[in-house]
């Protein structure tokens, strides 16, 4: 607690100092006589403006990531996937695949850049949902244990650095990098699409894509956190990487299977009332939505397909009949996926809390 208070105080002090420096700088013009003094104090303020250890660590981590082979390889894979999916999308659009699906309108043509494919390659969204966990795991699996094994952890923590800052810096640096990569990829796809199909996005489409990119960043952040958790828990980098990949595969392949299994076991044999069927459907939906992969898929596709009006699989005949078949506005789509976004962030926070607690309790010893 006292540590937090001290941190807050330092932060405030930093802000005030900056303000004071600014005031002095602006006053300088009016008092020519004191120019020398003001300039001097300004330069001393500039030399005093030192990054806090937290941002120094973030900077270093970020630099390490960018320079690492691992990142270059990842980037290469993702770029390839990106180019492939754009190619598939563009050829599909040329052939008019998207036009076959719905009414022959071009209202959301730009969004379909991200969702259609000519069948040879998966579309951008599928690629992203498949590769995102991999990026997260790859960036985080050796975050803490490699430092411990190299003996740098105890050296860094014996500096005046808060222990939680170390973990936070790892996370923030990873997340920043992920955000940069995902947003630049997203913009790249948009730009390429703009060039090849020559059809500009509406502001609404643009915001939808931005929100999808944001959700993707959160989603990758979840996996990053999970792998950081494993890197705190396991001393060997290989074990923690394997654990991360195992969880990924579990949610990718087995989770649906397990939910199906539970579903068939629990299915009401002779449904008497509508409530019974409904509560069963709700339970299954709840179980499926524990999986972050499912949450991400649903959220992203809802945003990219404005036609999706509801995520509830259980629609009564009246509702289906009376509903107007029209795309939702951006705000309404966002409202529909808001719980998903919150759930994703909550899961991220949960995993982070777990690694935080684990890390704070651990002994800091060198290499043992």
């Amino acid at each position: 607690m006292s540590a937090w208070a001290e941190k807050l105080r330092e932060l405030l002090r930093g802000v005030f100092r900056r303000q004071a420096g600014g005031a002095e700088g602006s006053g300088e013009a009016y008092k020519p006589g004191e120019t020398g003094h003001a300039a001097e104090s300004r330069s001393s303020a500039a030399s005093e403006r030192v990054l806090s250890p937290f941002w120094v660590m973030v900077q270093k981590e970020f630099g390490d990531h960018v320079r690492s082979w691992r990142f270059i390889i990842l980037l290469a894979i993702i770029t390839l996937a990106c180019i492939g999916s754009i190619y598939a999308a563009v050829t599909a659009l040329r052939e008019g695949v998207s036009l076959l699906g719905g009414d022959a309108d071009t209202e959301y043509l730009f969004l379909s850049m991200f969702t259609v494919s000519n069948g040879t390659l998966p579309n951008f969204l599928t690629f992203l949902s498949f590769l995102a966990p991999l990026i997260g795991v790859a960036l985080g699996f050796d975050a803490v244990n490699s430092e411990r094994n190299k003996g740098t952890l105890s050296r860094v923590l014996s500096q005046p650095v808060y222990r939680d800052d170390f973990l936070n810096a790892k996370f923030v640096a990873g997340l920043l990098l992920i955000a940069v990569v995902i947003f630049s990829l997203g913009f790249l796809v948009m730009g390429m699409g703009l060039l090849t199909i020559g059809y500009p996005p509406t502001p609404e489409e643009f915001f939808r894509i931005l929100l999808v990119l944001f959700i993707t960043t959160v989603y990758v952040g979840l996996w990053l956190n999970l792998s950081i958790f494993f890197s705190v828990r396991f001393r060997q980098a290989a074990t923690s990487a394997l654990a991360g990949i195992a969880v990924w595969i579990f949610f990718l392949v087995f989770y649906d299977m397990i939910v199906n299994l539970i579903g068939t076991a629990l299915a009401p044999v002779n449904a008497v009332s509508i409530q019974q069927v409904q509560s069963y459907a709700n339970l299954i939906m709840f179980l499926t939505r524990i999986s972050p992969a499912e949450l991400f898929q649903e959220a992203a596709s809802t945003l990219l397909f404005p036609d999706v009006r509801t995520l509830n699989p259980f629609v009564t005949q009246d509702q289906a009949y009376l509903a107007i078949s029209a795309p939702l506005s951006f705000g309404q789509s966002t409202l529909l996926v808001w719980p998903h976004i919150v759930a994703l962030i909550a899961e991220t926070a949960l995993v982070f809390a777990a690694s935080y607690v684990l890390f704070m309790r651990q002994e800091i010893r060198s290499r043992h």
């Binding site: 006292s2 540590a3 001290e6 030399s47 005093e48 030192v50 990054l51 806090s52 250890p53 120094v56 660590m57 270093k60 390490d64 320079r67 430092e147 190299k150 003996g151 740098t152 952890l153 105890s154 050296r155 860094v156 923590l157 014996s158 500096q159 005046p160 650095v161 808060y162 002994e363 800091i364 010893r365 060198s366 290499r367």
Partner: protein, 336 residues
Amino acid sequence: MLSQTAEPVIVLKNLVKQYGDFTAVDSLSLVIYKGEIFGLLGPNGAGKTTTILMMLGLTEPTSGEVRVCGINSTRNPMQVKRKVGYMPDDVGFYEDRTALDNLIYTARLNRIPPKEAEARARELLERVGLADAADKRVGTFSRGMRQRLGLADVLIKRPEVIILDEPTLGIDPEGVRELLALIRDLSRKEKLTVLLSSHHLHQVQQICDRVGLFVRGRLIACGNIDTLSSQLEGAPAHRLELDAAPVSDALISQISGLEGVLSVERKEPDRLAAAVGGDAAPVTLIVSSSSDVTAEIARLVAASGANLYGLRPHRYGLDDIYHRYFEGSETHERVG
């Protein structure tokens, strides 16, 4: 030697650290004064590293208190870490960064502005003799170079106290000598308080003002090497090696007759020397005494007409002290 009135820098009071049933540090009380070099000695697993971690606030003691520079390490680890430089055993660096980068990183974690950080880093690299390797990746460094870089890393924040955990581990003898000389030099010039832990006794005894002998979580003896040897029961305070020829039995009995002499032993001459020199080869006698009798022995040898080839006062090394303790503890265990 430092007087006991000097300002205390590290104060440990009844420090206890338990891991489950295992007591790593058992009610340890210790005071280290400003400007001294204190050696914490003990075998592996004696609790030295745990004690050091508690001083830095990296581990919480089960009970007891640690104060470094008057600050409670458990409550205010940040302030302590600003004043204390710590080099862990087997110090690790970011291997794919250069030595300079590693030092600058540490400096910046201590809120030293980048420009000054680089200046300090270069100066320190010069000082520890790594100026040529400043821009080499640490991955290419040898063990001794790493250790010296570790020393620079510790010093870059301009600490008041430096704590070195096993600084001499795994370096060749010449490297050890250089490193220790460097540490002593730094301590004397900068008035740094140095705490170093080691299980290499003879290396550490060269530079330590005081040592604490630490076994199984307990400090069994503390003081300078003279007091330490006298603290140990049954150990003679002085020992002398003497080479002379010819040595008659009369001479030996004369020496034994001196006041304070406890025993005189004849060291078996090695075969090579005996074969070469015959009877004229010098014989080595080992004289143990409770007081300093060097001058009297020299006089006796000269008076007996023998040639005196060498006279070496033999101070008890920590190895002997250490060994003696373990002999004792073994018998205790057998009794228990």
